[in-house]
């Protein structure tokens, strides 16, 4: 990220991501907040592109925007009177505790990691990701496949007409 | 089911593909006009003032009552006493071109015309007045006029009042 344009792009994206993230929480209309979530996820894809991780960026868009966010919005649209309902409810205190604990974990991870600053490699990342997935991380990869399969079967069971 | 699944849909594709190489059935209207049938009930009327006696048969036959006739008694040396037509207005804005007025006229004074391009911008423009009828093109159609059918008149040239009627004046 030596070039000026790269830096400008990074700061624009960073502000956009954080702004969207804040808006996700504060906007009263839940449909709008889902749309801001899409913006937030898109911004992260932009950061990946800046880091020359184009494969990750594409996958981020494909999965998080194309699938996860769409599912979220789909759920919102199918739910009755969701706009009028009160998003913050009596689970406020447990939610605060949970998110606080998550924040602590994240902060520990961030400050505990020895970050190496290096310019992003310009090589294609696809091959190396594939190598890593099918050698070192074969067990998590297979496990996630099993989880997905379970989810699909579960979906079929739920959707099956009785 | 004997045929292969999906073959019916593919056959349909071939049917439409054949049409890609055929001449279109439609014609381009302002450049190319289809010739209306000789019996065509056009959007206009042909009226012969000298044949009309002002008896109002057409006005009575009209389901919508859109023919307005005003007359006054007069006399002509060659014929004798008769009604002179002051007004003969047909409101084609409300007309449905059923040709019942043509059928009702005993003197063959009014005919359907074969014009169909009479669009105007106002409703008043659609009213055919007596003056328009007098000066208008005398191109009657065969609607309810067997004598025109007998002389095989196809509406190509104008007919005067002597030729148009069943008997000349």
């Amino acid at each position: 990220m030596e070039s000026v344009t790269g830096a400008i792009a990074f700061w624009i994206l960073a502000v956009a991501i954080i702004g969207c993230a804040v808006l996700v929480l504060t906007v009263p209309n839940i449909f709008h907040s889902a749309l801001f979530l899409v913006g937030c996820l898109g911004g992260i894809a932009g950061i990946y592109i800046l880091l020359n991780a184009d494969f990750l960026a594409a996958v981020q868009i494909l999965i998080y925007i194309g699938a996860v966010a769409v599912m979220l919005i789909f759920g919102i649209m199918l739910t009755q009177d969701v706009v009028k309902s009160n998003v913050s409810n009596h689970y406020r205190i447990p939610a605060l505790g949970l998110s606080g604990a998550f924040l602590v974990i994240l902060l520990t991870a961030i400050f505990g990691t020895n970050w190496q600053t290096q310019s992003p490699s310009t090589e294609a990342s696809t091959g190396s990701i594939a190598d890593a997935l099918f050698s070192n991380y074969i067990l998590p990869f297979e496990l996630s496949s099993v989880v997905l399969l379970t989810a699909i079967i579960g979906a079929i069971v739920i959707a099956k007409e009785r | 089911m004997t045929s292969f699944y999906g073959l019916g849909a593919l056959k349909g594709l071939i049917v439409t593909l054949r049409y890609l190489f055929r001449k279109p059935f439609t014609v381009e209207y302002p450049d190319e006009k289809l010739v209306p049938n000789p019996r065509f009930r056009g959007n206009s009327f042909v009226w012969y003032e000298d044949r009309c006696t002002g008896n109002g048969a057409c006005a009575k036959a009209c389901p919508l009552g859109i023919i307005r006739i005003v007359t006054h008694p007069t006399s002509r040396p060659d014929i004798g006493n008769l009604y002179a037509i002051d007004r003969f207005d047909i409101d084609t804005g409300r007309c449905m071109f059923c040709a019942l007025c043509i059928e009702a006229c005993p003197y063959d004074a009014v005919f359907m015309g074969n014009d169909f391009e009479r669009a105007t911008k106002t409703r008043d423009g659609l009213v055919i007045h007596k003056e328009d009828l007098v000066t208008g093109a005398k191109l009657p159609t065969q609607q309810f006029r067997p004598q025109l059918e007998a002389m095989e008149y196809k509406g190509e040239e104008e007919l005067d009042q002597h030729e148009a009627g069943r008997w000349s004046l």
Binding site: D54, V70, T126 | T16, T26, E28
Partner: protein
């Protein structure tokens, strides 16, 4: 081409700046070129549909109706821009842009000629899939924001069908990527010494049907089924916003046609001619092939009625998905075996003779599987439950 532009800018700018400028110029020309082509595609579709229907089609504006797209645009521009009071203003206004953006972005990785590509991304085809997935958001936003039940139904249908058809589509693409060994669009074109449609017929058919569904075109056009839900998600749009949706639809149609050409019809290569000639001729060949594929969509639209939503989803999951999976497995085995048999070294590709052999095997399997499946398909004649029928006539 980009090198020439870079060297032109290099005369008065630094290297990185001129690269950025060259990209900018490239994008500018690309977008304008694509939009002009798309405008004429709308005319082509209308003329072609006219001929399929035994009529003439629009031909009054300019010579042979060539100015019709401009007349359409002028008409749409001068129309009143209505935002209905109940609409959710902000998503309502931004949705057309979100629909158009992915359709235009796809063109970045489309190879028009050996050097005429804006960005030969390593993940070209993945980029196409990822970016077109975003268009769903635009459809969603418009459907939600219109405050119209027809629009809401349309966008819900849209998402259901797009999500369903992305699965067989990606499986079909993976078969090709497996064969080529690269996701780069240029690599895929260079690999095709014979068009891949001959090697991977099943993939081609599945991909074609899947993109017809993805593009919401007939016979899968339930999203804007005018006889059911009027215009679907853009029912409430007028003027230029509607035109933007329209443009997005046709840009996407053309973009997907270009992807089909790249993946299966050997891209800018003239079939059975190995050498690449002048880039201009290559580009022309590519464009002609793309328009040809687009015409196939028009042909479908001019012939077939529409399926129902559950039938469309069922077709995707019950027919296309198993065939695509089967095809993928077969392709994987074939690639392994053929690489062994022809002793293909790392970094090399299969020789043409291997592709021909593979194609013959695939076509044989395709036909056998087709005949086998045909036996299992329930004849529709027996499906409806029949009421007891009284056949004797009544008397007065």
């Amino acid at each position: 081409m980009s090198n020439e532009i870079i060297s032109f800018f290099n005369t008065f700018l630094s290297t990185s700046q001129s690269e950025a400028m060259a990209t900018f110029v490239g994008i500018f020309f690309l977008i304008n070129f694509v939009i002009i082509i798309v405008a004429f595609m709308t005319l082509l579709e209308r003329r072609l549909l006219g001929r399929l229907q035994n009529r003439i089609g629009p031909n009054r504006t300019g010579p042979n109706g060539l100015l019709q797209p401009f007349a359409d645009v002028i008409k749409l521009l001068t129309k009143e821009d209505i935002v209905i009071p109940a609409a959710d203003r902000w998503p309502f206004n931004i949705a057309p842009l979100l629909a158009l953006m992915p359709a235009l972005s796809v063109w970045i990785v489309i190879p028009f000629a050996p050097t005429w590509i804006l960005a030969d991304l390593d993940i070209g085809i993945l980029f196409v899939i990822a970016i077109t997935g975003v268009s769903v958001i635009g459809v969603f936003m418009s459907g939600w924001a219109s405050a119209n039940k027809f629009a809401l139904l349309g966008s819900m249908r849209s998402v259901a069908s797009i999500i369903s058809y992305e699965v067989p589509m990606i499986l079909a693409i993976i078969a090709v990527v497996l064969l080529v060994g690269s996701m780069s669009m240029q690599q895929i074109v260079l690999f095709q010494s014979i068009p891949l449609v001959l090697v991977q017929p099943a993939s081609f058919v599945i991909f074609l049907l899947a993109i017809v569904a993805e593009l919401n075109r007939s016979p899968f056009d339930i999203v804007e089924a005018e006889s059911e839900i009027i215009a679907g998600y853009h029912t409430e749009y007028t003027g230029m916003k509607f035109a933007t949706f329209f443009l997005a639809e046709y840009t996407a149609a053309l973009a997907w046609s270009a992807v089909v050409v790249t993946l299966f019809l050997s891209g800018w290569r003239i079939p059975f001619v190995q050498a690449d000639i002048h880039p201009f001729i290559d580009g022309l060949v590519f464009l002609i092939k793309t328009i040809f594929v687009f015409c196939i969509f028009v042909w479908f639209r001019g012939t077939w009625p529409r399926l129902r939503i559950d039938q469309i989803l069922g077709f995707s999951w019950k027919v296309l998905f198993p065939i695509a999976t089967l095809n993928l497995v077969i392709t994987a085995i074939e690639v392994l075996v053929f690489n062994d048999v022809f002793a293909v070294a790392e970094g090399e590709t299969l020789p043409t003779i291997a592709l021909v052999a593979m194609g013959l095997i695939n076509i044989a399997i395709f036909i056998v599987v087709g005949i086998a499946l045909n036996k299992f398909i329930k004849p529709i004649d027996q499906e409806p439950q029949s009421y007891p029928v009284t056949r004797e006539g009544m008397t007065l």
